[in-house]
Structure formats: structure tokens, C-alpha cells
Symmetry: C2
Subunit: 215 residues, 2 copies
């Protein structure tokens, strides 16, 4: 093999490898509409003593499901009816809304990672049996990528690392400040909310790509 | 002056120049909510024979104003009431909604530059005197920067050129595909819609920065 041929062969192999590794970084998108996670105590206040959440449909993440149960959100300026409850029950009730919902409801929900609820916004939930007024628990969830331990290791990413993500199309953009959430058995998926989906024209059949690691 | 001092002086001058030119590229943001531009013919159908638009409040762009007149938008799946009319009248009626509004109304409005209405979506407008059903004219307006001829020349940008724009903050991102619209006497302003404002947490007091010219 001549030097020229050798160089051509190596170049081709490197290009193929780069294309493959970029291809591997394609991430399916999941769009989150407003929803509520409830504690067992709040399930019973809203739906009755000893009530349990009923699985209506499995979600893509393992053990997570959409419930048949729905609630009404009430803020100082408005109401949103028929808001989905997601199961299973959690230790603390968490209400996830979009910034647009917050304006409609009159609820100033801060942008947070899921579970980070200290001093977040107050809201009232109404169910068929009773109501619950939360002192805190209402947030706009920061966009994030669920990634299992194996993918994170192979891609050289760590839990809570911030990455940038390329969105293609007529409303193409680069999301900075995307949080990577690594856990053992989750499904690879980038979660954005309705405002972000509308602003990018991304949907549940879309893909995005990580383009940088730590900024 | 020693070589070392000379290099330090030149370096400082170059850094100052770069900082200044970047500083110059700060652009105020204007958030567009859903609104309607009407032809005189449609003004009369909706508000009565010989009706004229009434200036309620000037907009930041010269000669543009919010009207006292409001209309109801009706689509196949929903209704949005009290939608602002903007003046002055135009040759052709144009309805600007967000992607989120389109879902609520059941109107599949394409992403377009203002004025590009061929084969865009149908909608019905209802006013106090009558209604108008448009065969086309409903769009989601592509984000864009209004820039006067002098600024465009100084920044080396051309009409309809696409640039990228940096948005800072907790929902920081880079908008690609931002259209520059150059005209003689407009006010420098980047226009985004409500979905884009919610997805970035930008408001009317925010600033963004052009970071690249042609992609």
C-alpha cells in the first residue's frame, strides 16, 4: 500500500468513526405538557380515603405512567382544568407547568430541576372529593436529558453536567444549559416543555443532538 | 516604548475595540402576542361601513399602532377572543398567531416571514358588525430583527440575511435562522413570539446579541 493509499484509508476510517459517534448522539425528544405528581396523602385528599392512582397508560420512562385521575389547577388569575396526574405517588406533591401556564394562572413558578421544590410557587389543586393548597411545589422544569449509566460513560458525560443541544429545522437553535440526568435504567430521552416544543417545532417524533459537553 | 509595552498597548486597544463592537450589537427584544393586520375592506366588514381603525397606543416601530378594535379568531377546534388589531390598514389581511395558538384553534399556520401569505392557513375573524373568513393569511411569523440601513451597513449585514443570536440566562440558547429585515427608518428590535419568549424567559426589557453573520 502506498503512502497515499494509506492516508486515504486512514482518513476514511476516521471520518466513518466520527460520523458514527455523532450518529450515536441522536436523542429522541419527549414533550411534557403540564402535569402533577401527587403524594399519597394528597391523592386521598383529592380523590377520597384509601384512593389509589389508576394506570391509564405507561410512559416511556420505566415504571412511570399517566393516570386516569385529573385535577384542576387554580391560581390567583386563572384556572386550568383536566390536568394529568402522573404515577406512581411521590414523597412530595410536585406541579409542573409551562411559563405560559404560569402567566394564565397567575402563578410565578421558578425554573427548577425536578425535585428541587424549596420555596417554589404556591397553587391550589382541586379534585372530585376535595382540594389541597400547596405552600410550595409548583415549578417550570428545566429541560434535561435522561441517560442511563452506560450511555453516559460511553459519551463521557456525568450526572448533572450541562451540555448544548442542536435543534435542526426552520426554527433551528442551540439549547445551552441542558442538564444531563444519569440513572441506571432510564430510557434515553430529552424532555422539553410545551413552550420549548412550540418555539422549536419539535415534537415527540423529533431527534436532537448533543454538540458540546461542559461549556 | 519597549516591544513588550508596545504589544501590551496594542493588545489592550484590540480588546477594547472588540468589546465595543460586541457591545454595539446588543439588540432590544420585542415580544409579539397574537394580532391581526386588516385590509380596509375587512375593517368595514367587521366594524361597519366607513369604519376606521382607532389608535389606542403607538408601537415602537414608526407609524405602527395598537388599535382599540379587537376581533375573535375562530378555527375548527377553538376560539380566541379579544385579539388585538394593529394599524395602519394593509393591502391584505394578515393574522399572526403562535404555534400554541394554532393548536388551540385547530389552525395549521405555517412559519413565514411577514407578508408571505400565499397558501397560508384559513381562519374566520368575527367583529361586532360582521365576520370574514380568509382563505389564506394566517401565519406564525419567523423571528426577525428590524434594523435600519445605517446599522446594517455598519454591522456588515444585508436585508434578509440569516444570523445567529445569543440569549443569556437560565434558559440560555442560540437562535439560528434569524432573519435581518433592513429598512430606512425602523427601530432596532428583535421580534419573537410568545412561545419563544416563554421558552427563553425573554421579555420586552431583555437584550440579545448577534453572534454570527451568515451561517
Amino acid at each position: 500500500m502506498s503512502n497515499k493509499e494509506l492516508i486515504a484509508t486512514i482518513t476514511e476510517a476516521v471520518i466513518r468513526q466520527l460520523q458514527n459517534s455523532q450518529e450515536d448522539r441522536k436523542i429522541p425528544v419527549g414533550v411534557s405538557n403540564r402535569h402533577v405528581h401527587l403524594s399519597q396523602e394528597d391523592v386521598e385528599k383529592l380523590f377520597g380515603a384509601k384512593a389509589c392512582l389508576t394506570n391509564y397508560k405507561d410512559l416511556s420512562q420505566p415504571r412511570q405512567f399517566v393516570c386516569e385521575e385529573r385535577v384542576t389547577l387554580v391560581g390567583s388569575k386563572g384556572v386550568i382544568e383536566k390536568v394529568r396526574v402522573l404515577g406512581p405517588v411521590r414523597k412530595q406533591t410536585q406541579v409542573e407547568i409551562s411559563a405560559g401556564d404560569g402567566i394564565k394562572l397567575g402563578v410565578q413558578a421558578p425554573l427548577r430541576d425536578s425535585g428541587n421544590l424549596a420555596s417554589s410557587a404556591s397553587i391550589t389543586l382541586v379534585g372530585p372529593v376535595g382540594s389541597v393548597t400547596l405552600g410550595e411545589g409548583t415549578i417550570v422544569v428545566a429541560r434535561h436529558i435522561h441517560m442511563n449509566t452506560k450511555d453516559a460513560y460511553e459519551w463521557g458525560l456525568k450526572n448533572k453536567q450541562r451540555v448544548s443541544v442542536q435543534v435542526m429545522g426552520p426554527r433551528g437553535l442551540v439549547f445551552n444549559e441542558v442538564s444531563v440526568r444519569v440513572s441506571n435504567d432510564c430510557k434515553l430521552e430529552m424532555h422539553i416543555d410545551i413552550d420549548e416544543a412550540n418555539a422549536t417545532l419539535l415534537g415527540n417524533n423529533s431527534y436532537v443532538k448533543i454538540i458540546t459537553g461542559e461549556k
